[in-house]
Amino acid sequence: MIKEILTRMLIGGLAVSAFSALGDVFKPKSFGGLFGAAPSIALATLALTVSANGKQYAAIEARSMIAGTVAFFIYASAVSHLMMRYRPPALVVTCALIPIWATVAFGLWAVLLR
């Protein structure tokens, strides 16, 4: 159990850091932002999930990821719109709007995937 947690922590941390660094180096900022929606957590998780639980289990996770992605799109669009219009601090907006992601993701799960 501890070994699995440490492996996930290491692979997930490295994947997210690598994609974030790629996002930093590209200009303009809107292009660099594409890497904010990179499949970093998915790549780390799915590879480990297949080896532990099999392909069917990982495919079910990928199907649910579709709902999470729709939620991500709405969340990031809302963050961008609010920041462009009202210019609040980035940390406040990005954290305050996380419930939007949760509502849309779990709403879609409840309606379509449960």
Binding site: G12, G23, S30, G33, G36, A71, Y75, C95, W109
Partner: protein
């Protein structure tokens, strides 16, 4: 719009800022695994698209742009927040690529080799994200 690569940006990011990204990324990967174990893969899968690193990245962009303006004697707050907003707009376009990635893995994984599917899905993510970005730039 022209796409440029500026490697000097990597030097501007401090060690603790890299550490924050590493910890957030690692933590959400662990949490996604724990949730999948407790409530099943259908719930755990939602967290594969959780914006875990987004607050840290947006804050970092805001801070770096503000510092850049302050070095030339300007206040820089508005510039910093505009840059973070542009980054968020890019992420929302990138989500279209992420959607393509998820659909590709869902459809291809059961019948094909894992590593081949993950590589192909990543290439599809990048192609779809760049295409969506280019369309957005031309509108």
């Amino acid at each position: 719009m022209r796409i440029d690569v500026d490697w000097s940006c990597l030097k501007k990011t401090k060690f603790h800022e890299y550490a924050v990204r590493f910890i957030f990324g690692g933590a959400i990967t662990v949490i996604a695994g724990i949730i999948a174990k407790k409530w099943g893969p259908a719930v755990g899968g939602l967290f594969l698209a959780f914006p875990a690193i987004f607050p840290a990245s947006a804050t970092l962009i805001e801070k770096h742009e503000k510092q850049k303006k302050q070095r030339v004697g300007m206040e820089g707050t508005v510039r910093g927040r505009k840059a973070a907003s542009m980054d968020a707009a890019g992420a929302s376009i990138g989500a279209i690529g992420l959607l393509v990635f998820a659909i590709a893995v869902w459809q291809l994984l059961p019948a094909h080799a894992t590593w081949a599917v993950l590589i192909e899905a990543s290439m599809l993510w990048f192609a779809a994200a760049v295409m969506a970005w280019q369309i957005r730039e031309h509108i």
